[in-house]
Symmetry: C2
Subunit: 243 residues, 2 copies
């Protein structure tokens, strides 16, 4: 089996999709992007705080969560390299709609100040079109996740999550490093930890080996076959995007 | 009990929130907004078609749905007066991500051509900020819906749906007209039709009378008490918005 690279923890910031698909932005923000590092369990932002920065994930994993008044924690997102969070910073007087905490080691983020990104967006209609398209895509992904709760089995939802981490790689093998505790991943996927364990077993015959934080996928195309027949996005274009 | 107005089916287009909160838009689009009427069961747009128009709902109810390759229909949205659909029209070469069908009688829509709205957005940074904020709010709503599947009971989800239709009305009574078939509403709320029936029974002691398409809410504040303690958006600002 060909070894393909583990999801990089050390990609430099200029490879973040917001900069690679929109190079003019990085130039125009020169000096207004601050890199920050966080360790496991460290809090990055809190639900309800004023949205002072737009955050780009350069490396590592983070958990986006919220609490209900009656005390339940809900995991509303998992982010890793290439993702963005804190889009509320794009809007005047907005608050962060979730708490974000580093869950892997070596979490590296780039923070763009709200005023800097808003000033750029106001001046540059192409950038605002790009950001609108990004927001719309994110909405489509959330909508799909909601759909999958009803149309997919737990094992298919886990497989879909793994597929997305393979991004545009259509076939072949892939190794992933997912330093996310089982109960967090289960909550994110909308299932109980014991259902996640059973789902991992169900994926074995498809060539998926999960051992702690490491996932070995032997045949991406077999995974796709297993999942995509139960997804209304299938055949309608890309289902890549944030998880 | 004070009778408050049934959700209007005849509001003129200038009251649509996109125009009332952004009056310059209607002026600038003069002559490029076409009104269209649809009867029950009529198709408005199809999943995968090129997004030729942005659609504003002026009156009536519509169902947004998708099909999985293995034949399951999923209801991804219900729209009524004040809602918008077809935001894909904001982006070049985008396709509609769902099929839309009129489900009530007297469905009245305003269609803005994709080229007209894109030209306006490109020229007007305030309009693009407004639309970004709208997209972001829509994403927050979808995210909340996903959360509620896990944090709320079926009766609470139904109550939350009713509360949203009361928009910003904080207390008092309200009459609603919801011409949505039971199996469609159940699918939209992520439950079986028999669970929806049980949920309706559970809401009776809170002063909710559902009789066919008519819903009488006696005490909006009691409904809010029943629902909002299980929602992480509670106390963090408005939870108004599209359903």
């Amino acid at each position: 089996m060909t070894q393909s690279p583990v999801l990089s923890q050390t990609e430099p910031s200029y490879l973040h999709p917001l900069f690679s698909t929109y190079p003019a932005l990085e130039k125009s923000l020169h000096g207004q992007v601050r890199k920050k590092q966080f360790g496991h369990g460290e809090s990055v932002i809190s639900h309800g705080d004023g949205a002072a920065h737009l955050w780009l994930v350069l490396a590592g994993w983070l958990k986006l969560s919220r609490q209900t008044p009656d005390g339940k924690e809900t995991i509303v997102g998992l982010c890793t390299a290439g993702d963005i969070f804190g889009e509320a910073a794009l809007f005047a007087n907005a608050n962060y709609p979730y708490t974000v905490e580093a869950i892997g080691k070596q979490v590296e983020l780039a923070a763009i100040s709200a005023s800097a990104i808003r000033a750029r967006v106001e001046k540059d209609s192409k950038l605002s079109a790009h950001i609108m398209s990004m927001l719309s895509e994110r909405n489509a992904q959330t909508q799909l996740k909601l759909e999958h709760i009803h149309t997919m089995s737990a094992a298919q939802r886990l497989a879909c999550f793994l597929l997305r981490l393979c991004a545009s790689q259509a076939s072949g093998a892939r190794s992933l490093h997912i330093p996310v505790e089982k109960h967090v991943l289960a909550a994110y996927l909308g299932m109980k930890p014991e259902t996640l364990s059973r789902s991992q077993q169900q994926l074995k015959p498809l060539g998926i080996q999960i051992s702690g934080e490491r996932v070995e996928i032997q045949y991406i195309d077999r995974l796709r076959e297993f999942v995509c027949g139960s997804c209304s996005e299938s055949g309608m274009g890309s289902c890549e995007g944030e998880n």
